[in-house]
């Protein structure tokens, strides 16, 4: 893989006389892409420069959970980097040919900062930074949500990145066609009656739509594991593979869900602004209510439940032997009690 990597890097650094790759190693964690860190030492006529980089590769199709395009992700990252102040590393390029690395891949700049966001909570070493980091994180999210979609997605490829018939021409069309996709997909995830609450989730979302808000570009996986921080600031917002046109409240809802799964407290900060939602409303004027966040917590849960549970079903059905998918079947259960509470299931402790 390192040889192939050097050959690819030669395309990104055409002026290079010599390229050396050091420290190539996998980055653990994350469930949808294989990622590796490395340093590229590029020697040109002007001298030698070290580039901290990441190779981000799709997993084999048989074990893939979320199938999205590295090309679209590359274009989005570069649009964000060039047209916003959102802290984001440069995407050097993408390799669509699976011959090189086994699957499509992309090379992106490795940003500095602490990725162990658990250090910000529960008596971790950086709890004193929590308010400032989350304040900045909220400001970054607001900038994302208030940037003109056409600037970030000029070709409209993020309206329906999964190719499931989602229509983003209006809020109602977006919500209706997205929920139609969820309901249509239920047989592909229905490996056991224990997922009946997911069916209930889809049907309830369809019956209880909230008020409309203008569609925006959403991160799509806005969660405690997808930002780096340093000295009270977010140094990078990462993992844009699930970005799409959507309702801004989806990012708020998903962070709420992942706070539970990750045992973090992002949504509680900044404390001096009354929490993440309150500060978001202060910056945007959208007056998003907790009930709306709850709806989009459910909406976001549905959005990720379809590909994750479909992957689990493929494992249960024996289409793969990927052990991680069995672990997901166990660990994803952590979201169920909160899901049941949001659906107002009787007999579920609050």
């Amino acid at each position: 893989m390192e040889t192939q990597l050097r050959e690819l890097l030669a395309q990104y650094f055409p002026e290079a006389e010599r390229i050396e790759v050091t420290g190539f190693e996998p980055i653990p964690g994350g469930y949808s892409r294989e990622t590796y860190r490395f340093d590229a030492h590029v020697r040109t006529a002007a001298g030698k420069v070290e580039h901290p980089l990441i190779l981000r590769k799709d997993p084999p199709a048989s074990v893939s959970i979320l199938q999205t395009s590295r090309a679209i992700e590359h274009d989005l990252i570069e649009a964000l980097r060039l047209h916003t102040n959102i802290p984001i590393g440069r995407s050097l390029g993408h390799e669509p040919d699976p011959e090189r690395f086994g699957e499509p891949a992309m090379v992106i700049q490795r940003m500095h900062g602490n990725s162990r966001t658990s250090d910000l909570f529960h008596d971790g070493p950086d709890t004193h930074q929590a308010d400032d980091v989350m304040r900045h994180l909220c400001e970054v999210l607001v900038e994302l949500h208030t940037t003109d979609i056409s600037t970030l997605d000029p070709h409209g490829r993020l309206a329906d990145p999964r190719g499931e018939g989602v229509d983003a021409s209006s809020w109602d069309a977006y919500i209706d066609t997205t929920i139609d996709y969820y309901v249509r997909a239920f047989p592909t995830i229905n490996y056991d009656p224990s997922v009946s609450e997911i069916l209930d989730l889809f049907l309830t979302l369809r019956r209880t739509k909230p008020r409309a808000l203008p569609l925006v570009l959403v991160h799509g996986d806005f969660n405690p594991a997808n930002f780096l921080y340093e000295a009270g600031k977010v140094t990078a917002l990462i993992d844009w593979e699930n970005a799409r046109i959507g309702d801004p409240r989806e990012d708020l809802g998903w962070m709420t869900t992942m706070d539970i799964l990750s045992n973090s407290k992002v949504m509680d900060h900044p404390l001096d602004e009354g929490g993440f939602l309150a500060y978001y409303n202060k910056l945007t004027g959208l007056e998003v209510t907790q009930d709306e966040v709850d709806y989009f917590t459910l909406f976001g849960t549905a959005n990720i439940a379809v590909p994750v549970q479909a992957a689990i079903k493929r494992r249960v059905d024996g289409e793969s032997t990927e052990f991680m998918l069995l672990y997901l079947a166990q660990s994803a259960g952590g979201t169920v009690p909160n899901l049941l509470r949001l659906l107002n299931y009787p007999g579920v402790p609050q």
Binding site: P193, D200, R207, L340
Partner: protein, 159 residues
């Protein structure tokens, strides 16, 4: 799940072990886990059958030494009239039979949800109440499943 653990031990762990003791331990793990897989489907049934048989054994032993005297014989007869007496435990149905019936009913409740949703979208308020009946079953059951099966406070690898 246990089958998946076995596969992962074989494909993800053993090929990457260089320490002989670690290799041997992994092999032993495979053996024990496979044994557990074989025992689980019949464990409760065997327990109940053996329980009832042991009650009979206590009684038959007492009958066999009938007429014997002394404290040892008295103790045998005493066990026959205490532990060997009373109600036998019910023999559980075959696990596969129960699981199949459980699964069929679970899917029937899903079909009921879909039908209730159709009624609810027509404005049928009784269907709202009926959905709560279904939810009232699934809610505590799913919470119990999670409390029984979940390990740890957070997803591994989430920073």
């Amino acid at each position: 799940m246990l089958e998946g653990v076995l596969i992962s031990i074989s494909s993800d762990i053993i090929p990457n072990l260089v320490n002989p003791k670690a290799h041997a331990s992994a092999q032993m793990m495979r053996s024990i886990i496979q044994g557990i897989r074989q025992v689980l489907p019949v464990y409760d049934q065997y327990l109940a059958e053996e329980h009832n048989e042991m009650m009979e054994v206590l009684r038959r032993v007492a009958d066999t030494i009938d007429g014997s005297t002394g404290s040892a014989a008295d103790r045998i007869r005493e066990r026959a009239t205490t532990l060997g007496a009373g109600d036998e435990v019910p023999i559980p149905l075959e696990r596969e039979v129960v699981m199949a019936a459980h699964r069929e009913l679970g899917f029937s409740l899903q079909a009921t949800m879909i039908d209730l949703d159709e009624l609810q979208r027509e404005g049928n308020a009784d269907a709202d109440e009926a959905l709560d009946v279904v939810r009232g079953h699934f809610g505590p059951r799913l919470v119990r499943d999670v409390q029984t099966f979940l390990v740890g406070d957070a997803l591994l690898g989430r920073g």
